[in-house]
Symmetry: C5
Subunit: 322 residues, 5 copies
């Protein structure tokens, strides 16, 4: 589906144009055409391929979707794949994809499986004619910057989730829910990591050493995108390491809690078993058991039981078994 | 066993030829010969070695089989080893091998231990004469692309298997089957990893920097193969990391479940032990035990037992030991 | 908030100047202006941007704060982000930020979320006119050196904390507090790591190979900063590895301690259960039980119980179950 | 001890020569001398040092033995250290060492702590005069190839050992022997790894980029050795990772098995405790216990015990505690 | 404290000289001065700084001590920091430091916190005038070689310690001492690692590619030092990996031993509980219990108990619970 299609010249919007007019505008000097599509069908992709002379393999990738994030050069044009990551219903993550074709005088963005469009990017870039003069390269920067900035709230939600789990981790009886939360967080972290890490690596090629033609002059801007990706990457690695440690620590807490239960079990077992043993002895049917005849035999035996149990109880309290 | 042997010229099939004719066709300009073999015997390999002038070490490797995936240059020819991985009976993996010799005007593929041939590759390449003009390099691409594309369903089956295990991982009493599934999945993952990782590394040399002669002009195609391999590699690493975490978490679940059993054991032990102790006391044979004379002594003692047990039961319920 | 604003010429302080005068002093030969700000508002940042011609992206970063440590070149100027780490209330860590803009004839430092200023740095640099002649580059070195030197006491406190935990790690019944301390130490270690590692990496570019213009001639000084960072980095990695081992070992100690409790439980259970069983037997109501008639039957049965229990006790002592 | 000493010219054996004649043969064009020694004494090493002009540091290394595998250039000669690994008594590993000095017209191999000589290497090389013309470089290749090929059966024995353990890993009550086997396998794996990894790294320098003079023209052969080493290396890494996972899984199996024991313990404890409690109640000596008077009181009480126990037994069976 | 101060010329010792004479000897051609100091005070360091023109930052480092091992170039001089590691009282490690300043015609070594001097190095170098002609570079090599060679006995003691622990690791009831030994060994290993790893990295720069002026012509010697460091490094990594595995395995042994205790506990509990239950039943006070009247009732009941217990005992023996 074609979302919109606009021609720009010297940093200014010229007109919303029809698909058929693209070829005409591409010939103008200092002009470029910016086309946005959403889940286009095969026919639409083929038309764009012919209009802009896109490379067969790139078009194939964009039609199939489900690529890993990457930036590939085809001659003097670029093919960029970005993953969008959206928070749905609190913590679940939805992964979409934006495929961008950038040439000297065109930029074509193809959105898959995400509803968040880039209308605000278009509005923002049109307000900065000085930068828009850089052409398609600047639009690429603006799109990448927007996609990357949308990772931050997700990262923040993960960081605050980790903090919540960390507060729970030494609480007794929370081990089961902790371990489930830790695993779920790890799963989501991996989703974000798979969106960020390959893109970071690829973006590094847009500002240092030899830079693709369409990005020249914009290097400090792409370095800024790289820097944001690196920040996210470092935070992800930090969360990941703390998650590993937290899972280990949680395992330790489970063992510890079991150890404490075993101690209490042992302590109470002793407290109950001793009177049972004493009672068993005085329940024996020997003819000749003088204590049984004593008038104070019964209360004395009870007293012995109580004294032993109180002693045990205090001893267990002292050694913290109880 | 010779599967087939075809000569091509200017991107078009010329003829199915006999082995003896190979030398003749190799001399034609813009022609190349494509030979496919399946588990050839020593005599066949020696014949091919002479026909195409293959390097002794490469022929030795192809005869012995059981090589790791690799791409080696011998002068202006290439020797490529690929692992094929086939799903058999649901989840077991069968590893085969395809050894490919590529020169400026020939390509020889030798299949070992896999039944899946490359008939469809031949059919497909013959439908694209524009690309087939690139010669043996394009055929190499087509073969590699096909082998690599066959990894995807295996990866998919592993991913869905992991998801199934993840659904089971927090279910009580599933620890034993989970741990077995996790280990089996890890084993299979390593098989795929050993097929993919060395090949990815080797393929990287076919598109960046200095490129072997036979692959020149095809760099974007080999980059595409590399990109697919990288995607598989990244997914394997992701599964691998989640597997490690899942094994740890599963260990935690086992400990947790034992801890819960211990608690229930302790709780029921207490509930049974207390009446046993009380009964023991009133089973003592002291002469002077006034309670024994009371007419309501027996029901009272039973009542005491019940009250204590109900209290214990509720307390254990509250602390979730029961 | 503007902290101070001073002009220097030929390594000597010229005057405290007002913001409006900055432009004038920038024109003088061999002069530079050093401005220090604390959490400036947007207007102040904008003014500085115009005075010194700062790059839009750098100013944006400095206004927003919460950057990762980095050193970026914008043309012939540098933008440096440092994290300050302060110990508060014993062991908690407060992370602040210092953003530094350095050009050929100016240096602007912007402090965020930290109260420790750099008054002493200014005093110290003014005492070394020979070095101050190097201009803004030397001031950058002095600021970085100061920030980095402030990491050492934090590292020392972590090292001594680890040593304290290590002394506790094999002490019985300390597992819970050990595990909490280990996790808390790990959290703090990661904070320091996130301040140090990216900065170390960035500082490496200030002394080897091509060096930014403003740092030329100061390479040995920046290498010294790098070396300090590397030392901290190595210590952090060392602590981190020992922490991982300590957590594992602590887990082992928990299991071991549980194992010992189980053994003692088992031993005492046996010591109590045997007399209970014996007593149970002589509590049976069979008509024909000759022992019951024996006059020494009761003391004999008690003696049997005692002998068995003493035997068990000694045996358990010997096998260290008790 | 001198094993043998042979002169070659133009790829053909000239003569078995005496030590004193070495100098003479070294002067002939296209000739080289191949000396094999076994644990030489200091005098022998010194003599060889003078005959071939070996570097002092290399001779020192070869005399002391116990070097790590390495390939070092001394001017236009090479000093190569290889580890031999022999299987003794089934699975134990014996590590020997072969130190090789290679110059343009000589090759000297010094064997330490291994009985397997290289007689077959000499025989094989003498059968390939076409290759032996390459001189000392080809002999070096043949020796390295032989040593490396001897690693494969060891690797195979480790792989089959791992498979055996893997078959045992989910078997109940095999945990102790599994864990011992896993540790022993890991120890042996590390021995092989220490032989293979440094050598692989060093061999990489014999075929890519600048190659030592004595190896020129033999690059494809050394790449073949490298490739074999890489294959072993990859297998070692695979075994190593599976070992780590297997140790973790085994730990899980131990916990699981304990958990199952605890459950059975708990179940049987309950089944025995309930009749004991009931019997205790009817063993009380209250005057007024109507049930005691009933003629069917005793069988009824037994029936109650049996019913409860059958119910418990079935319930535990259902929840798989039994 | 000045240890000694000697002038050399053309590889021969000229004289022991006084500090004041240093300047004079520095002017002679092909001469160099070698000064050794032990924990010098500030005045001594300042004097040396002026005599040799040492760089301010290097002097600051040497005065403060506690540097990480490193090799830094200051113009045409080198500043080298080495850690000495001494075994004290069996296994404890003492870390000292040697700071070495090397210029074209001087070498100054400063020892901190270690009593082992370098008298033997001086004696040895003076015996090799051919090498001593290389000047200060050779002395640097001799010092580094000596410090590095002193690491080997420490490494050996660690390896034999690991072997001792490995022998104990599968012994029952040794878990606590094993885990303590493993942790202590890990701590000491990290000390050695921190001495070796940075030095190895730094030494790599003394023999490959561009080499500092003072080391030229000595490259094979520094490569030898590097090689020794690499060997130690590889051994440390090996010990480290086995330590990690050993800690895991020990944890497994602890769990296993607990599991075995639980089984024995369960078995004995059953053996005691069954007679107790039977006795309880015949201790009931029902009027109508025919067995109680039988004359052989008592021996029969005892026989039943014994039979059941023998059966249980054999069964537990068979399943290895006992």
């Amino acid at each position: 589906m074609l979302v919109n299609c606009v021609a720009y010249q010297k940093g200014e919007k010229v007109a919303d144009i029809r698909r058929e007019e693209i070829g005409e505008y591409l010939k103008r000097p200092e002009a470029f055409v910016w086309v946005a599509m959403f889940e286009p069908d095969a026919a639409e992709m083929t038309e764009m391929q012919h209009q802009f002379g896109l490379h067969e393999l790139a078009v194939e990738d964009a039609s199939k979707g489900h690529q890993r994030p990457k930036i590939e050069e085809y001659g003097n044009s670029l093919f960029v794949v970005l993953h969008t990551v959206d928070l749905v219903e609190g913590t679940a993550l939805d992964v979409g994809e934006v495929d961008i074709f950038v040439g000297p005088n065109y930029i074509l963005s193809v959105r898959h499986r995400t509803n968040k469009g880039f209308g605000n990017v278009r509005a923002r870039t049109e307000r900065e004619p000085a930068l828009l003069k850089y052409g398609a390269g600047f639009v690429l920067y603006a799109l990448m910057d927007t996609v990357v900035d949308r990772y931050f709230p997700i990262l923040d939600s993960m960081e605050s989730e980790l903090e919540q789990i960390e507060e729970q981790i030494f609480v007794r009886n929370a081990a089961r829910s902790n371990i489930e939360s830790l695993y779920a967080l790890k799963q989501r972290l991996m989703v974000l990591k798979h969106a960020v890490d390959p893109l970071m690596e690829a973006t590094g090629k847009l500002y240092g050493g030899r830079v693709p033609q369409v990005c020249s002059g914009m290097q400090e801007y792409f370095r800024d995108v790289y820097d944001h990706l690196h920040r996210i990457h470092a935070s992800i690695e930090g969360i990941r390491e703390m998650l590993t440690t937290a899972i280990q620590v949680n395992l330790g807490m489970i063992s510890l809690s079991e150890s404490e239960v075993t101690k209490r079990l042992a302590a109470w077992a002793a407290i109950i078993a001793v009177p049972t043993m004493v009672a068993g002895i005085y329940g024996m049917n020997f003819k000749n058991m003088p204590e049984l005849e004593w008038s104070f035999g019964y209360p004395l035996s009870i007293a012995v039981m109580v004294v032993i149990d109180v002693y045990l109880y205090l001893k267990f309290k002292k050694t913290r078994w109880l």
